[in-house]
Amino acid sequence: MSGNMTTLIRDGLWHNNVVFAQMLALCPTMAVTTSGTNGLGMGLATTAVLVVANVLVSLLRRVVSPQVRIPVFIVLIASLVTIVDMALNAWLHELYKVLGLFIALIVVNCAILGRAESFASRHPVGHAFIDGLAMGIGFTGALTLIGLIREFLGSGTLFAQASQLLGPAFAFLEMRIPGYAGALLMILPPGAFAALGFLLAGKQRLDARRAAQPDKAAVLA
């Protein structure tokens, strides 16, 4: 049992990142990351579901019997997602218009069931909460990063419509590269694969380099 919170956080953010290490939840990753804002929104919504699902599953872990374990988790997650869906539609309608189609997909986001199965159902509530949060933030970060890259190369903007998601105070994030129309391919599905592929290669290279210099890594850590 890894009781170390730092390890949990580091795993979620980097070493065991949902997208870059576990390669889970690729459907939403590919589908919504046409802009940094979309990625951020989807990531935050998923994080919310992930944290609550982890906590609920962890609470129920002693009660649940193995035969109906997965159905119970699925019912919990599906209900949570539906609640998030309705809440967004009612109170964050602009964001809902952007993410609407994908919110429902969080139900089948394998990362959530995966965390419930492999972590939350075996660990106490506190750990499950931290794990859900770390995994969610890692996922949000990955989605935002892919979204930003695609948005930058594909349409020449950064954080377009961020103010709709985060409120007018965040309008300063929105940027546009003058004179660049963008390579549309990056906005289309192949662009998502290309961006993910190059980011994965980059991560592997960083990890390999760090593994090659254990002393330096220790100092940095």
């Binding site: 649940v64 019912v75 209900s79 539906t82 609640i83 309705m86 809440a87 009612a90 549309l184």
Partner: protein
Amino acid sequence: MRLDTLKEYTFYPPLLLGCTALLASAALSWVAGATRDAIAAAEARDLRESLTQVLPAGLADNDLLADRVQIDVGATAPLTVYRARHAGKPAAAVFRVEGKGYAGPIVLLMAVDQDGQVLGVRVLKHSETPGLGDKIEIGKTDWITAFNGKSLNTGRWAVRKDGGEFDQFAGATITPRAVVQAVKGGLEIFARHQDAMLGQPQDSATMGTARAHKEGKAS
């Protein structure tokens, strides 16, 4: 442990799953009730916004959503028309038309005033080639505003290449051609069903030629 012995019984799984389902559905129904009004309001706001986009500001003072009719124009499905009124008098009709684009249908929303002049056209949905055909979107270029003020009598309804007055885009002729044809078609429908589409002044809103009924939900 007592719980572990409990888990061995056959009634345990159905009890557990049943309880979970009960709690989950109860929570869902509560949230659904809490958000119902907010969602309906937000959706109505959406539709209203898109309708007012094609209407000049201040033209309509009525609730467009509340004043709509279904008109049979000879197509497979009846056409939904939203009526804009100013001080109770018919001012304009807002309705959808469809054009056959390069890569599929182009859905347009257009507003026509009582003289048969185009007040505004916006693209609601299309799947044209990004970077080429998508210049019909107002967010990309203002090409679509070229229709403003045109009527069947005043315009040469074709793209420049075919001898008309509307520009085509470099590399794409089919898309603007389709939009021009669709808008022209919309004007022709309006010319044929003008009375029904504009409707009578509000006080004598008895529909003679058209069937009109309110629907529970906007599509």
